[in-house]
Amino acid sequence: MAAKSNLTNMVLVLGVTCLVCSAVLAGAYAITKDPIDAAAAQKTNRAIAQVLPHFADAEYNEEGHYYTATDGDALVGYAIESTVVGFGGNLSLMVGITPDRVVYNTSVLSHSETPGLGAKCSTDAKFMDQWKGFNPAVKKLSVKKDGGDVDAITASTITSRAYAQAVANALAVFDKIAGQAKIAGQAGNDAVAGNEEIAGQAGNDEAVMPDSDRASSEKEEHSNE
């Protein structure tokens, strides 16, 4: 069935096949790039909205991997991305912390834990709910096996421990942000006001959107660039 091989037709067929295939993929990449980016952004926005109380505007800090959520002039809280090594690989969380240093809620961004065991860290309601309003000043942030107050997932102590560690890391980032804000003092307040002005201007360039939440996410994408 197949043609007889000689150098010319081998080079020609392989070359043409590769050329056509790369052209197809380049086209597909161009078409799907926007939806892929939109899906990723939507996922992040949903995670932030899930871990913090209602806010109007969120600004990303690339250096510290956190989002500062504000509602007008008031600071709503920080949504901090925190990645640790779990049982099966990296475990990435979004941890929402309100200005009074209480964890508002947490959300799993990505994980590679064992299905049926550690993977429950993103589905088990009992485990997830204990992070809502978790106050590290009152409760000890480590699993019960280590003498803390965190209920571990059955048979998944390592995952639960990693989860607690990720929250602890997020709190450390929060302390750093809070510390900086304190040192900056009065000057800091001015800077925050200035930032908001810039964000507001960027928002004005966008088309007017009825949904205020969507408008804010647009703004946030804008400031990411």
């Binding site: 197949a2 000689n6 597909a28 939806p35 049926g116």
Partner: protein
């Protein structure tokens, strides 16, 4: 027409890739932790199988013998990458669950196996039917295997929990349970096949 239907039926039963040919065992064992995962993996493979079978049967007459494997692999890899882009864009949740196993469809022996054994020797339409049949066979097997493992391991069906808790027999969600379920399903399938 009956000939084409015959091809599809063969792929589902007589040439069933999982229970009879024992091809593609890696994704079979790894992705069937739940029925929905098995189903989506099966459908992803089906998509690649039909398209690559069609493309390869169309180009087979002009492909020189000595480079046919590289050419087939490039064609298959193109469709897999295409699928990956599409899933990432429109079904990000499913893409996350299947993750690693989507690029591995490239080296799934079912796909290359059908290209070699069938598509390179037959017409485009017949190859499409063969791909459809084998793909459906793979999808059904993976869904059934995923369903059995999900019922035993998590006590749920397609994500709907019926035992009111998360405590199934965990072994069935993990690798040993995959082998056990596969073995017993294979026995049942072949017993049924021999009877008819």
């Amino acid at each position: 027409m009956s000939n084409k239907l015959r091809l599809i039926a063969d792929g589902l039963v007589k040439n069933n890739p999982t229970f009879v040919l024992l091809l593609g065992m890696c994704p079979t064992l790894a992705t069937t932790t739940s029925a929905i995962n098995g189903l989506s993996m099966g459908l992803a493979t089906l998509f690649v199988l039909v398209l690559s079978n069609m493309a390869i049967s169309a180009i087979a007459p002009v492909v020189p013998d000595k480079v046919h494997i590289p050419v087939y692999i490039v064609v298959i890899a193109t469709f897999v990458t295409l699928l990956q882009f599409l899933m990432q864009a429109y079904t990000p949740a499913m893409y996350e669950t299947l993750g690693l196993f989507i690029p591995l469809i490239v080296v799934n022996c079912i796909v290359l196996g059908r290209a070699e054994a069938f598509a390179s020797k037959n017409g485009v339409l017949a190859s499409a039917c063969d791909g459809l049949g084998v793909g459906l066979g793979f999808t059904c097997s993976l869904t059934v295997l995923g369903l059995v493992r999900e019922i035993l391991g998590s006590g749920s069906v397609f994500g709907y929990n019926f035992i009111g808790g998360n405590d199934g027999m965990l072994a069935f969600v993990m690798a040993p349970g995959a082998f056990l379920c596969l073995g017993y399903l294979m026995v049942l399938f072949n017993k049924f096949l021999k009877k008819n």
